[in-house]
């Protein structure tokens, strides 16, 4: 059986942001959500490269919305987690959870 793809730390952050945003996950809102939740602002280069990579890996799917004048007539690309993406992020978070069990971190209550 082939080993499932592992996903990097920033890929997990992006997948979780897409999951949180639901139907409104496109470049701008994903970047804003990451900044709001992690206090770090992703560079456009890192964000769009990661989104492209996740889509190429089949972990997210995208659909193009309607063009809007505010965006110079360019459409938004909305992202959604695929079944593989959901499985990958679940696996990654379960690993973190197992690692956290029995650890005491300052200011973090593990539930």
């Amino acid at each position: 059986m082939a080993a499932p793809d592992t996903i990097g730390e920033f890929e997990q952050v992006v997948l979780l942001a897409i999951l949180r945003l639901g139907d409104n996950a496109y470049g701008v809102t994903i970047g804003a959500e990451i900044t709001a939740c992690t206090d770090r602002e992703p560079t456009p280069g890192a964000l769009y490269t990661t989104l492209d990579r996740l889509e190429d890996k089949g972990l997210v799917t995208s659909r193009v919305g309607d063009p809007t004048p505010q965006r110079g007539g360019r459409a938004k690309r909305f992202f959604t987690l695929s079944a593989n993406g959901l499985a990958a992020i679940t696996r990654a978070q379960q690993s973190y959870r197992r690692l956290l069990q029995g650890c005491e971190l300052p200011g973090l209550t593990y539930a």
Partner: protein
């Protein structure tokens, strides 16, 4: 308002046209609050990042094609050296004395074929390296001056240590037309293929 068509064509060199359009739309949306400098920085950083990713994902193929480009470059350089020798002899015969290789016409004669060849090699690499057109071309642009410098170092009367950097920069500059060639070939492919 930033020139979003230019930004889109820059990004379209390293990703698909529809991804380039939506990315530029996102950057444009944010540039209303962050300004034009942020927009262009975003465009170039995204392009650089996608270029690097394109190379990393196809490192072997891009490097192999870059070496092929260098080999073609060598063939063209050999041909040019042969033709230059003949032209030099003809000029000496017609004028009655040896021509000065420091004159502007001679420099144009020597540099123009390299630049034209680079343009042509850029177009060829773009056709052969579908999916990693620009990474292969950039790899060729970086590799060709390094290879020619290494060859020069092994030749008798090769460049001295102080001449290395200027030669490298000049060689690099002469091969920049390869990017224009690759861009043109990629554009033609884009127009032939439907938007996804």
């Amino acid at each position: 308002m930033p020139d979003i068509r230019l930004a889109e064509s820059i990004l379209a060199l390293v990703t698909t046209r529809d991804r380039a359009a939506t990315t530029v739309g996102d950057l444009q949306e944010q540039s209303e609050t962050r300004g034009a400098a942020w927009f262009w920085s975003g465009v170039f950083r995204t392009a650089a990042s996608l270029l690097w990713r394109g190379f990393a994902d196809n490192a072997l193929r891009a490097t192999g094609l870059a070496f092929l480009g260098v080999a073609l470059d060598g063939v063209v350089a050999g041909l040019c050296a042969f033709l230059t020798g003949i032209a030099f002899l003809i000029a000496a015969y017609v004028t009655g004395h040896a021509a000065s290789t420091n004159s502007i016409p001679w420099n144009i004669w020597l540099v123009a074929p390299t630049m034209l060849a680079s343009f042509w090699i850029g177009r060829l690499l773009s056709r052969w390296a579908i999916g990693c057109e620009l990474p292969a071309t950039v790899a060729y642009i970086v590799l060709a001056p390094v290879v020619s410098l290494l060859i020069g170092l092994f030749l008798p009367n090769g460049p001295t240590a102080t001449q290395l950097m200027p030669i490298l920069v000049a060689d690099l500059a002469q091969r920049l037309p390869a990017i224009a060639g690759a861009a043109m070939a990629r554009r033609r492919q884009d127009f032939k293929s439907p938007v996804t």
